[in-house]
């Protein structure tokens, strides 16, 4: 075998290795989604989306309360965590050399590693006990602790990619540092920051443990901040460990809806971001 063929063979070998790895990564994702679709799609009905659960023994009923609850809790958690996280990440990236910043970074990393059940216990002690009851507020705060470190670190990493010479160009125009940071560094990378936010939100939407004994769950549609609130993951958990076949089937459908809800949030945000850009372009050209 001459050198040329040998080189081609090596190239082919490593190239296939990469392709195989890519496929291996996709297989579990595909299996999970396919199995959930297979088990859950048969339970889809208008009832499921528009009705609350029926009492044990009665057929039908749905999870509208859990779907609404998940949206409510995730929105509440994001409302608390996203502004703090973006500001915090900006601070770490732009002014992150001091002692405070270094300890903050360590704290954020530790928070990422805290098991979600521990976050649930924390919110339980912090909110549920003083308020004497499970509440959406406690659930929202627990989810915000999941979202916060992800948003902070993704924002920091994104803004660190902004080259020094871009910041200097802003400063050289006679702009104060905060204007350079806000209008040029942060605003110029809003789309990438929002991608990190969406990632964090998707993660929080699927969390069960922090909600088990904070938002707890109920069986009707609720918008009360200080009352228990249902959520898809907890509902799925409760139904899947129940002895009733129809509840287990509903848990599968719930899982199916949860996956596509997260996918939906993802896609909506992305298209919305893109559309905004397109709209801006169109209106500016007039």
């Amino acid at each position: 075998m001459n050198y040329y063929t040998w080189r081609k063979a090596k190239n082919y070998f490593f190239h296939s290795l990469l392709s195989i790895s890519a496929v291996l990564v996709l297989i579990p994702l595909f299996l999970v989604v396919a199995y959930v679709v297979y088990k859950g799609i048969s339970g889809l009905s208008l009832d499921f989306f528009f009705n609350t659960p029926k009492p044990v023994g009665e057929v039908g009923g749905g999870m509208v309360h859990a779907i609404m609850g998940t949206l409510y809790l995730v929105a509440l958690g994001s409302l608390i965590a996203v502004p703090i996280g973006v500001v915090c990440g900006t601070f770490l990236s732009e002014f992150g050399d001091g002692k405070i910043a270094k300890s903050l970074r360590v704290a954020i990393d530790l928070l990422t590693g805290v098991p979600s059940i521990v976050i649930g216990i924390f919110a339980y002690i912090l909110i549920v006990i003083p308020f004497k009851g499970f509440s959406a507020l406690a659930g929202g705060i627990a989810l915000s602790l999941i979202i916060l470190p992800i948003v902070t670190r993704s924002t920091e990493e994104i803004l660190k990619l902004v080259p020094q010479h871009i910041k200097e160009a802003g400063l050289a125009l006679g702009l104060p540092r905060w204007k350079v940071t806000y209008f040029i560094v942060v605003k110029g990378n809003l789309k990438a920051i929002l991608t990190g936010v969406i990632l964090a939100i998707s993660r929080a939407a699927g969390e069960t443990a922090p909600l088990l004994f904070t938002a707890f769950g109920n069986r009707y549609v609720s918008t009360e901040l200080l009352s228990p609130m249902a959520s898809l993951p907890v509902q799925i958990y409760n139904y899947s460990i129940s002895p009733f076949d129809d509840w287990q089937a509903q848990a599968w459908t719930g899982a199916f809806v949860l996956i596509f809800l997260i996918l939906g949030i993802n896609l909506t945000c992305r298209t919305f971001l893109n559309r905004k850009k397109i709209l801006e372009k169109v209106t500016r050209q007039k």
Binding site: D97, P163, Q164, H165, I166, K167, E168, A169, G170, L171, A172, L173, G174, L175, P176, K179, F183, I184, K187, G188, N189, K281, R284, Q285
Partner: protein, 253 residues
Amino acid sequence: MSQPIISVKDLHIWYNDFHAIKGISIDYLPNTINAIIGPSGCGKSTFVRTLNRIHEEVPGARAQGSIMYMGKNILSSEVDPVDLRRQIGMVFQKPNPFPSMSIFENTVIGLKLQGEKNKSKLMEVAETCLKKAALWDEVKDKLNKPGTSLSGGQQQRLCIARSLAVNPPVLLMDEPTSALDPIATGKIEELMTELKKEYTVIIVTHNMQQAARIADYTSFFILGELIEHGLSSDIFTNPKQKTTEDYITGRFG
């Protein structure tokens, strides 16, 4: 002879322990082009970056001595670097338009963020500055395209327009044409001679022909020291120092 607009006296600059500029004194006259030449690492960039205090962005950098501008030592703590940089603008080596902004936004961003909201005023400034930067004809039909969609030379002229929009009497240029081809370089040189009517330009360059072509005065730096400063015609035809002669004739550096 008119009063100097910037007067540097006994300027020393350190990066931590490294003594980068060792006691340089130069006067700059208004409406002139002043070139700084010298081998790499001689402190040219450090020197101009101190003139609008952008050197403070480098951790560990500190300056000593005096740089008089409008009757004040700009190195003193009572001068606000933000105000100073509105007076003394800067164009960098690498064209660096803001990537998320259109050509129009890039041009007026300085003014806009200083509080100018009137759209027709901004449009007017954009047109004037892009014309001064000899870019208007090339971009007037695509002002909403991203600044980064332009060619390297166009981007650099956009950056010059961006600096001009805040109307600084002095413009610092740190090797503005080193990343550009000869045609783009030619355009920017032409532009500089045009700008001289209204502005004072201080330009760092590695290109000695460039200094000879456009600069009224040239300073020659080696290892943080000023070897020679004078009329470009003297420096390039009749240098007083042997080192200068060796450098410009290519015997070293």
